[in-house]
C-alpha cells in the first residue's frame, strides 16, 4: 500500500465457511473520483463495502480507508465515511427532520449546526417541503433522497452507495444520478457506488471495477476497458458489451 488513495485494499479476502465471498481484492481509489463497482447479484460487492466500513471482519488481507484500518479503528472510519445501504430504512413514525436529527446526534454534531445542515441538505435533495411529514408516507424515490441527505449530514469525505438507484422510476433515477454527480464535482466527495445497472454507471463514473464471483476481473476507466476488450478501432461501445464479455469469460 502506498498510502496515496482514499481507499486502498491489499489481498482483502472474506470467507463464509467454505464459500469465498471476496477473493484477494486489491484496489486503490483516488480522492475525488466516482468509482463504479459492478457485478451481478451475489458477487461480493456489499461484503466488500461492509469490510471497508469495519462492519464485518476480513478473513485475511489489509484495507485502509481515509488512512485508517477499518477493522482496528472503525470509529475513525465511520466518523468520516458515509454509507447508504441498499433499501435504506428510516424510523417511519418520525418525520424526516427527526430522523436526520437523530443521526446528527449520534455523530455528535452540535445542535445549531445540526439545524443548519438539515435545512441545507433537505433543500439540496429537494425535500424541504416534505421535511415535516412522517417518513412512512414517503415514496421510494423520496426515501432514497432522504437517505443521501442523512449520509451527508456528517459531511463525509467518502460515501459508499449500495445500489443507489435500484427500484427508482426513470425520473427518480435521473435526479439521483445528477445529485451524485454534483456531490463529486461541487463538494469534492469521493463516491464508491456499487451497482448492476450498467448504463447509469457509464453515465457518471470515472472508473469502474468489475467483480464476478468474488474476483475483481477488471478495473480502470471505461474507455480503457473498451480498448482492451472490444478492440482499438471501436469508438461506439457500451459498458454492457464490455461487461458481458468479462462475464462470459469468467
Amino acid at each position: 500500500m502506498t498510502g496515496q488513495g482514499i481507499i486502498e485494499t491489499e489481498e482483502l479476502t472474506k470467507k463464509y465457511g467454505a464459500q469465498t465471498a471476496v477473493n484477494r481484492l486489491t484496489l486503490q481509489i483516488e480522492k475525488g473520483e466516482i468509482f463504479g463497482f459492478l457485478g451481478p447479484n451475489g458477487a461480493g460487492k456489499t461484503t466488500t463495502i461492509l469490510m471497508m466500513l469495519g462492519l464485518t471482519e476480513p478473513t485475511s488481507g489489509k484495507a485502509a480507508v481515509i488512512g485508517f484500518d477499518p477493522t482496528r479503528e472503525p470509529f475513525k472510519v465511520k466518523e468520516k465515511v458515509g454509507y447508504l445501504p441498499e433499501n435504506v430504512g428510516f424510523y417511519d413514525d418520525m418525520d424526516a427532520r427527526q430522523n436526520l436529527r437523530y443521526i446528527a446526534r449520534l455523530n455528535r454534531i452540535p445542535g445549531e449546526a445540526t439545524e443548519k445542515r438539515i435545512d441545507y441538505w433537505l433543500e439540496m435533495v429537494g425535500l424541504s417541503e416534505e421535511g415535516s411529514k412522517k417518513v412512512g408516507t414517503y415514496s421510494k424515490g423520496m426515501r432514497q433522497r432522504l437517505g443521501i441527505a442523512e449520509v451527508l449530514i456528517k459531511e463525509p469525505k467518502l460515501i459508499f452507495l449500495d445500489e443507489p438507484t435500484i427500484g427508482l422510476d426513470p425520473d427518480g433515477t435521473n435526479r439521483m444520478l445528477d445529485l451524485i454527480h454534483s456531490l463529486s464535482r461541487e463538494k469534492k466527495i469521493t463516491l464508491f457506488l456499487s451497482s448492476h445497472l450498467l448504463d447509469q454507471v457509464q453515465r457518471i463514473c470515472d472508473r469502474v471495477g468489475i467483480m464476478i464471483n468474488g474476483n475483481l476481473v477488471a478495473m480502470g476507466p471505461i474507455e480503457e476497458l473498451a480498448k482492451k476488450k472490444l478492440g482499438l478501432d471501436q469508438t461506439d461501445y457500451t459498458l454492457e458489451e464490455i461487461y458481458m464479455k468479462y462475464f462470459k469469460e469468467a
Partner: protein, 321 residues
C-alpha cells in the same frame, strides 16, 4: 458514552409514546388502585375500635382481599411489562432496516443493546415507583396510617427486587428479539417462556420431588423424615422458576410476621392481628438476611440473561443485521 445517551433518549421517548406502554401501565395502575381500595376499606373496617398493630401499612401490599394481593399481581403480571418493552427492540430495527444504518454511525456497537436495555429498565423503574407511591397515597387516605421508617425501607427493597425481576423478563424478550428475525416469533417465544416458568414449573417440581424422594405408605404410616425430604426437594425444584424466587423474596420482605420463605399460609387479617399480639415481627435486618440469597439469584439470572443477549448481539454477522 455519547452514543448510549442518544439512543437511550430516543428509546425512552419511543416507549412513552407507544400505545402498548400506555395500555399495560394503565392496567397495572388500575388494578393496583382497585386492589388497594378493596384492601384498604377492609382494613379500615376491621381496625375500628382496635389498637393499631405494628407494620399495618405493609398489609396494603400483601393482603389478598377478595382476589389477590398487589404483590401477587406484580409477580404474575410484571413479566408482561418487561416482555412488552423488549420483545421487538432489536428485530423491529432489523425489519425496518435501520439497524445497519445505526451500526455504520460512529458509535460502539454495544451502545445499541446497552441503551435499549437501560431504557427498558428505566421505564420499569418509573412504573413501579409511581404505582407504589400511588398505592401508598391512597392507603394513607383510606386507613389513616403513615408508614414508618422500617416500612418505607421494606418498600424500597421490594421495589428493587421487583425491578430486577421485571428486568429479567426484559432481558429474555430482548434476547429473543436478537435471535429471532420476526417480531411475532419473539413475542410468542417470550410469552411461552413466561407461561412455562410461571405455571408449569410448580407442577414439574412436584413430579421431580415424587421421582427423587417418593413418599411411600408403610404399615406405621408416613415417615416424617421422608415427607420433609420430599418437601425440600419440591421447594428447591420450584426455585427454578424466577416467579417462585420472586414471590418468596417479596412476601418475606413485605410480611415481617413470616419467619421463613415458605409459601403463604392463608390467614385472614383478624387472625393475623391477634397473632401479632403474641408474635413479634422479624426485624428488618433479619428479613434482609433471609432474602439476600433470593435477591442475588434474581440479580444473577438478570445479568446472565443480559450477558447472553449482549454476546449474541455482538457476535452476529452484520450481514444478518
Amino acid at each position: 458514552m455519547h452514543g448510549i445517551f442518544t439512543i437511550f433518549r430516543k428509546e425512552l421517548g419511543d416507549h412513552f409514546n407507544s400505545m402498548r406502554f400506555l395500555l399495560i401501565s394503565a392496567l397495572i395502575v388500575m388494578v393496583g388502585v382497585i386492589i388497594t381500595s378493596m384492601v384498604g376499606m377492609a382494613i379500615q373496617e376491621e381496625l375500628r375500635g382496635m389498637a393499631k398493630p405494628t407494620l399495618i401499612f405493609l398489609l396494603l401490599f400483601t393482603s389478598t382481599g377478595k382476589l389477590f394481593s398487589f404483590v401477587q399481581f406484580i409477580g404474575f403480571f410484571g413479566p408482561l411489562l418487561g416482555i412488552f418493552l423488549g420483545f421487538d427492540s432489536i428485530n423491529r430495527e432489523r425489519v425496518s432496516r435501520t439497524l445497519s444504518k445505526l451500526v455504520s454511525q460512529p458509535i460502539f456497537r454495544d451502545s445499541i443493546i446497552n441503551a435499549k436495555f437501560l431504557s427498558g429498565v428505566t421505564v420499569i423503574a418509573i412504573v413501579l415507583v409511581a404505582t407504589v407511591l400511588l398505592i401508598s397515597g391512597l392507603g394513607i387516605r383510606l386507613i389513616g396510617v403513615v408508614p414508618g421508617v422500617e416500612e418505607v425501607w421494606r418498600l424500597v427493597i421490594y421495589i428493587v427486587i421487583s425491578l430486577l425481576y421485571i428486568s429479567f423478563w426484559l432481558g429474555i424478550s430482548i434476547l429473543f428479539s436478537v435471535v429471532f428475525r420476526s417480531t411475532a416469533t419473539s413475542a410468542l417465544a417470550s410469552l411461552a417462556i413466561w407461561i412455562f416458568f410461571s405455571f408449569f414449573v410448580s407442577l414439574g417440581a412436584s413430579v421431580v420431588a415424587d421421582a427423587v424422594a417418593p413418599v411411600s405408605q408403610t404399615a406405621s404410616g408416613v415417615d416424617a423424615e421422608m415427607l420433609i425430604r420430599h418437601e425440600r426437594i419440591q421447594r428447591v425444584a420450584s426455585l427454578v422458576s424466577p416467579m417462585a424466587l420472586y414471590s418468596d423474596a417479596t412476601t418475606t420482605i413485605l410480611d415481617p410476621m413470616r419467619k421463613t420463605t415458605r409459601t403463604l399460609i392463608l390467614m385472614g387479617p383478624m387472625e393475623r392481628f391477634s397473632m401479632s399480639r403474641f408474635q413479634s415481627p422479624l426485624p428488618l435486618l433479619e428479613s434482609i438476611l433471609i432474602v439476600i440469597p433470593h435477591l442475588i439469584s434474581i440479580a444473577a439470572i438478570t445479568l446472565l440473561c443480559f450477558g447472553i443477549c449482549y454476546f449474541v448481539f455482538m457476535r452476529q454477522e452484520i450481514r444478518t443485521v
